[in-house]
Subunit: 430 residues, 2 copies
């Protein structure tokens, strides 16, 4: 790309940057936790329509994706889980096609009293925008949109098909991105601006969610010795799972991209509930856990080992050995994905284009990172032969309180993205 | 009491026994868990009215009892917590007055799939009546009622004031019995047929309910090492509380009535809840615990020690040491009570009357028991100078699944109770 075009694109992002932050602020004010994404998706759909894109908004049907690789089990069917895809068609398709993907769902805010300001009343302070989902990843959706706007601002449009995807379910299954594949959306590359500090993600771990249902032998606490406490029975199981976590993280088990990461695979006891009455020995408890796996680690084998560890620990409990815990999967059964292993010419070209865009924007070379989370990139990379570049802004406290995203970082990501689109897709005049 | 009267009373209970079990079956079908006692109380009130008693049914007002000794803290005020008391007045008061007390509230049924048959569809099988609350303690309420019926059946009535109490809140605070005291109900003795295997309870432990609120530092699980898991943080606190439990149960700390009981004081982790999202390090958890104390053990000192143990354990946690758990009391703050320590002539006389009644019914001497639970007896014994005799039928799996009470045991308890009333209150002809 010539220097002059590059400079015009960077300036165009600057010109629109206040509007971009306004857009992000409004988008963040939609409390789009799982099941509540409708108003945020309507906002996205209307933004795409205004820009002249052809908008496809549909309800996910589990039947369409249940038998596809990468599907994660869900409880029941989907109600009101809607994806939005806007399609840009060039007058003449000269360049390579592109998917700009982002997820609209955000994780729960948690206890509101632990936030300095309400999570869905976003505000800017000291160069950061605060709010649940601001970083993870509505800033990415805004960046994708305003990168296209910047081109239009200077009378240009991508010279290839561009699919703008706003998907649900990224935070629990990935079935939103999978449903886009099922609907036939394909391109030469995908870009996902998840908030990983302006680095290119070369590798991401896989994630397994599992529930452990424990039973106990209830009794009046007066006879607690004769009962079996279904809450306390969980404690040795948690300890055994941490031992497994320790083994899986051992140096000899690591994927090369995580060779120097001491603890890439985290076990999380994310939720627990149990018991009905303070003076009754509890008859039941349910734990929701998350465990990570390396790219290439087999999900089926991982599940088997998780179950074995749980059963073995349970056999040490007088009551549980005759009433083994039940392990239920609903939520992530996500494989790891390593872009670093994609040596195809397309991947090499896409990474090269992003390298150039980042350098032109920041004056620095693009850093690589192997991340300890999953993203929807796996669907493109593993199941659609499409290199997926995860590259997004700097955010802090994602999934925590006072989640925030840095404004200048959003600006840089939007600029790089606009340059990347112009390079990858080529441009044509409006 | 002459032999002939005794025989007539025993037969009268037999004559009415089928009706008693019918009554108990219907009473057990009312699902009178905390807050849902209204239909069961209406049923009791109408049974008392039918029998010509003067019925007092009232809504507990926390303001009436809040400053009384024995009050247990509650969340908010009471809504729809109604006590029922039926009063029998003799034509001529010759004997000693009596309170026949029982509680109408039952503990939650727990997961329904763990019951062989629905908990509130009581049924008789192999000599037992099954259902939540059948044993704890609707059989006792039925026994109290049909003991009076048996006297009436042979043309007699107690020759003293008898107060038939059906109270709420026994399973969580005792504030129902306390509200009866506040309303002025007093008598020379009280009988409470709680299901302790036809033994006379000489001593009962005290109970403290406490909630522990833990905070954590939430984060995306990808960075779990930087967060603080509010669920797992509970584990060392539970361990520390078990150490305290062990100390409190040590031989040198035991009340004499529990000298040979290795473990009278049980700690129960009864309920737990925590976390909002499987892939977020949980920011909060809440535990509901129950700990017992010996008669004579000071509640205030016990609370202080519980808090100290929790804070000390929390200080071992990098995050919690700067964000100590909150300990909240709502529910039992119940002192222990030892009838065995009441050497008053009234207590001696009441126990003697029950000894005789039990012997006449069963041909065996009345066994004594020190129990590891609390009952409403403490209000009469500790705060109203009224000896309270806890003496009721054999039940199994109270607070558990398939709770049941033995029919022949109910018959014997009803017979002993009728004899006891005739002896203690005297009788007059109708």
């Amino acid at each position: 790309m010539d220097q002059e075009l590059s400079t015009r694109i960077l300036s165009a992002v600057d010109d629109l940057f206040d509007r971009e932050i306004e857009f992000l602020t409004e988008l963040t004010s939609h409390p789009s936790t799982r099941g509540q994404e409708q108003s945020a998706q309507a906002f996205m759909a209307s933004a795409l329509t205004e820009r002249g894109m052809e908008v496809d908004q549909w309800q996910i049907d589990a039947a369409d994706i249940r038998d596809m690789p990468g599907f994660s089990p869900i409880l029941g069917d989907y109600e009101d889980a809607q994806n939005v895809v806007g399609t840009h068609r060039p007058r003449t398709a000269k360049g390579r096609s592109l998917i700009l993907n982002g997820h609209i769902d955000v994780v729960p805010a948690g206890p509101l009293d632990m936030w300095d300001r309400p999570p869905f009343e976003p505000h800017v302070a000291n160069g950061w925008l605060y709010g649940r989902g601001a970083g993870d990843m509505k800033a990415g959706l805004a960046s994708n949109l305003f990168a296209l706007d910047a081109l239009r601002h200077i009378g240009l449009a991508p010279a290839a098909d561009v699919y703008f995807q706003s998907v649900v379910e990224e935070e629990c299954t990935g079935n939103g991105a999978l449903a886009c594949l099922a609907r036939g959306y394909k391109a030469d590359a995908a870009l996902i601006p998840e908030p990983f500090e302006e680095k290119l993600v070369t590798s991401q771990i896989g994630v397994i969610w599992f529930q452990v249902h424990l039973k106990g032998l209830p009794t009046h606490v007066a006879y607690a010795g004769q009962g079996a406490n279904a809450i306390e029975a969980a404690i040795p199981l948690i300890a055994a799972l941490h031992e497994m976590e320790h083994r899986w993280n051992a140096a000899e088990n690591r994927h090369p991209d995580f060779a120097h990461h001491q603890h890439a695979l985290n076990l999380n006891v994310g939720k627990i509930q149990g018991g009905d009455w303070t003076s009754s020995v509890p008859a039941w408890s349910v734990l929701d856990l998350r465990m990570a796996i390396f790219p290439g680690q087999d999900i089926k084998a991982a599940k088997t080992e998780i179950e074995q560890v749980i059963y073995d620990a349970a056999r040490g409990n007088e009551f549980l050995k005759n009433s083994l815990p039940e392990v239920v999967y609903h939520g992530f059964l996500a494989e790891g994905y390593a872009l670093s292993e994609d040596t195809s010419p397309t991947a090499t070209a896409a990474i090269g284009a992003l390298d150039r865009a980042h350098l032109a924007t920041t004056g620095e070379t693009l850093d690589r990172a192997a991340i300890t989370a999953t993203t929807d990139a796996r669907f493109f990379g593993l199941y659609a032969d499409t290199p997926a570049l995860v590259y997004g802004p700097r955010a802090e406290a994602i999934h925590g309180f006072n989640e925030r995203v840095e404004l200048e970082s959003i600006r840089r990501i939007t600029q790089s993205t606009a340059l990347f689109i112009a390079d990858w897709c080529g441009v044509e005049t409006l």
